[in-house]
């Protein structure tokens, strides 16, 4: 019964204004206009190397940026990191489904985030070392980047970070049927049996 305060504070829906749905004196059936307009991208959906995973929404470049982010949010160690656990696939699948209204944000912000490190670090995000990546993201999270570098469009970098962070958690800890948590790796990490058998206290 507990809202995630971070998620609540930066919900994408904060950006929606009521006028988006009550336009010209007519009510609009289904999604408000602002949610329905999807960015059309020129690049074709990508394919990751090795695993043969076909992405449906993200391009190869975007997926690579997302992979790097996923490993910063949940780093590899004894148990798989976010990338290996399929967080990027989770996000790709959900941007085409339940989280479709976040698609445009990802398209803009992944590219902006990747380029945005050049000013301070002289390299794009995916080419930074782990330590620099974490420093850069910590700065973004704290509001250190405000459309200053890169093309963030109307999006606030720290808000994107917060939403993306939450999506990584969903992808890592949620049900594998949504694309992430490959082989229930997070349950293995927590020592939770996947199959629950009848028991009594």
């Amino acid at each position: 019964m507990k809202p995630d305060p971070q998620n609540e504070a930066v919900s994408r829906r904060n950006f929606l204004k009521i006028s988006a749905i009550w336009a010209g004196g007519a009510w609009i059936v289904g999604y408000p206009v602002a949610r329905a307009s999807n960015h059309v991208t020129n690049s074709a959906p990508g394919r990751t190397q090795g695993q043969g995973t076909e992405y449906q929404v993200l391009t190869t470049d975007e997926a690579a940026i997302m992979d790097a982010l996923a490993d910063c949010i949940i780093p590899p160690g004894d148990y798989a990191g976010g990338r290996e656990a399929g967080v990027t696939l989770f996000i790709d699948r959900q941007l085409g489904r339940y989280l479709h209204s976040d698609k445009a944000m990802y398209k803009t912000c992944l590219a902006a985030l990747n380029k945005g490190s050049q000013a301070d670090y002289e390299k794009v995000f995916t080419r930074l070392g782990e330590e620099a990546q974490i420093r850069y993201l910590t700065d973004i999270e704290a509001g250190g980047y405000n459309n200053r570098t890169g093309n963030w469009g109307d999006y606030i970098p720290s808000s994107f970070f917060s939403t993306m962070r939450d999506h990584c958690m969903m992808g890592y800890y949620g049900h594998p049927k949504h694309g992430g948590n490959r082989e229930w790796v997070s349950y293995q990490m927590l020592g939770l049996p996947v199959e629950q058998v009848p028991m009594s206290p």
């Binding site: 809202p3 929606l16 749905i21 999604y31 969903m170 800890y173 949620g174 949504h178 939770l192 629950q196």
Partner: protein, 551 residues
């Protein structure tokens, strides 16, 4: 297509509505039970945390959907925004046959005697519309008993010295505790509290043809894999259908209460699954659409007779929206206390529900339901990292060493916390959506601090290594414990219905859901809503049998 006239329409097949449909159809009235959602099934939803009814970041499997439903949320600065069912600010409960009773935690509390007489017990509270109920605990006691026996509750009040009196014990023995609850039970005794096993709408032994609980961790927020959790969908609603007098009409969104030139209710207008607008006429209409949707329906049913919405002559429809000011404390222990025996919550104390010096009301306190892995990512002591190595280490080290104690603080109702209908935003069918605004009073936050300190005391007695409190914010409550928006009362100027749930001035319109609550107790509300369903039905059936057909 024309529908045949029936004796009674019940709008909403949740806690209150399911009970009413059964009682009226058993008494021989022909009934149509309307439900906007459909049947929810474990086989369809399974163990998917991301769409469960407790943390639903992707969507709410138990309804409603994000495509057709929305509301307007107003924050304390007056900013409005559109919100969707899987956002907390929507204040969702559920939308399926049985509503929240399919996926609930199934705690089965009776309110205490004082909970019905809050004004005379505590006096006037600044800024609050605090009032006594027009019914007493003694009036409702037989109906609590009926709910416990017909729907099925496991419990034992003999360990709880603060439990209200009862005529008959619970029908099933109380649940035993898992490792964590056994540890907390001992700690509560050490602290001088009086712990007991929480009464649950869950089978501790086979009951009415369904099997016993198998203690999975995915209980609250999920449907039960073996049907051992008792909601209206697997008890009273099937009974109602078996009478042959009740038709359950699913996928049917009621949009208006229809009235004639004399101001009598004639039935309802609704949209079916194909979005066709249809009508159903009846002698009586009973609203049980939840404390948000019942007032919305009434406000959307304005007519020449009822220009401000039906039952709203004195502007009380939608007022006094309450939930609970949930408060408590979290703790980490040195040793593993998790044994994967669900559902988790099982030990409680009622020591601080009333009689707290300088405090109005209070709350019961109980250990928490098992937090699923994604939900646990939001459970951190202040200042903890939310990502990176620190996040992952915390998750791995502490998932099985965590316990939480929480309590639903009884809120002081206020007139400005309310459900209105939006002037701007409409739903899929073109109807104005609910607009929710309001706040908690300082009194509620004061009580929340007091109760959280008691949770800390309990966890200290348990020897926790680290403890941190969680105090509620000042925003309006509602959500799963929403109530109060069509308060019952003796004075038509300060209430919406009389003590039988009959809307003042509208003889054949009734309310039978959480909206009726004058106050919401320091306990989860569902058993009281079920008891009110029986109470309201009892009045209707008695009148009917005396020859009053409300026509």
């Amino acid at each position: 297509m024309t529908n045949q006239h029936v004796n009674a329409i019940v709008v909403g097949s949740g806690a209150g509505g399911g009970v009413v449909a059964k009682e009226l159809s058993e008494a021989g009235l022909s009934v149509v039970l309307f439900e906007r959602g459909e049947w929810a099934r474990y086989s369809e939803h399974g163990d998917d945390e991301l769409t469960a009814q407790r943390s639903f970041p992707l969507h709410c499997y138990f309804g409603p959907d994000n495509e057709r439903y929305r509301r307007v949320a107003v924050d304390r600065q007056g900013n409005e925004r559109i919100v969707y069912p899987n956002e907390w600010a929507y204040h969702n409960n559920a939308a399926c046959v049985g509503s929240g009773t399919v996926s609930y935690g199934a705690m089965a509390w009776r309110f205490m005697e004082e909970d019905f007489t809050m004004k005379s017990t505590y006096g006037h509270i600044e800024g609050s519309t605090l009032e006594d109920w027009p019914v007493t605990y003694a009036d409702l006691e037989p109906f609590y008993e009926k709910a416990e026996w017909e729907i099925g509750v496991a419990g034992d009040d003999s360990q709880n010295p603060f439990a209200p009196w009862r005529n008959k014990p619970h029908p099933m023995p109380a649940f035993k505790h898992n490792t964590e609850a056994r540890m907390l039970e001992a700690a509560a005794k050490k602290a001088g509290f009086h712990p007991f096993s929480i009464p649950m709408l869950r089978n501790s032994e086979p009951y009415h043809g369904r099997g016993e609980c198998i203690h999975v961790r995915n209980c609250v927020g999920f449907a039960c894999p073996v049907g051992a959790k008792n909601g209206t969908q697997n008890t009273v609603i099937p009974t109602a259908i078996r009478t042959g007098n009740c038709e359950l009409r699913i996928n049917s969104q009621v949009v208006e209460i229809m009235t004639n030139d004399q101001g009598k209710v004639t039935g309802v207008a609704y949209f079916d699954k194909q979005d066709r607008k249809l009508q159903q006429t009846a002698d009586i209409v009973v609203l049980a659409a939840s404390a948000t949707e019942t007032p919305r329906l009434m406000l959307n049913s304005a007519s020449r007779h009822y220009p401000e919405g039906i039952g709203n002559r004195h502007d009380w429809v939608g007022r006094n929206l309450q939930g609970h000011a949930y408060t408590g404390a979290n703790a980490l222990f040195d040793e593993v206390i998790y044994d994967d025996v669900g559902p988790g919550a099982s030990v409680a104390i009622s020591d601080f529900a009333h009689n707290n010096p300088g405090i109005t009301g209070g709350a019961m306190l109980a250990n928490e339901f098992i937090q699923m892995p994604y939900a646990f990512t939001g459970t951190r002591p202040p200042g903890s990292p939310h990502w990176g190595r620190g996040h992952k280490d915390f998750q791995q080290e502490n998932y099985k060493r965590y316990a939480g104690i929480r309590g639903p603080v009884q809120e002081m109702p206020n007139f400005e916390s309310r459900v209105e209908v939006s002037q701007d935003v409409r739903d899929h069918w073109g109807m104005p959506v609910a607009r929710i605004s309001g706040f908690k009073l300082d009194e509620d936050i004061k009580t929340a601090h007091f109760i959280a300190d008691k949770a800390v005391e309990w966890l200290e007695a348990a020897g926790a290594a680290k403890i941190w409190k969680s105090i509620p914010g000042t925003g309006v409550s509602g959500s799963q414990h929403q109530s109060g928006t069509c308060r019952m009362g003796n004075d038509p100027k300060t209430s919406v219905t009389n003590k039988f749930g009959q809307v003042h001035d509208v003889e054949n319109l009734f309310v039978a859901d959480g909206s009726l609550h004058v106050t919401n107790g320091g306990f989860n509300p569902v058993l009281t809503i079920m008891a009110l369903g029986y109470w309201v039905s009892d009045y209707i059936v008695n009148e009917w049998q005396k020859g009053n057909s409300f026509r």
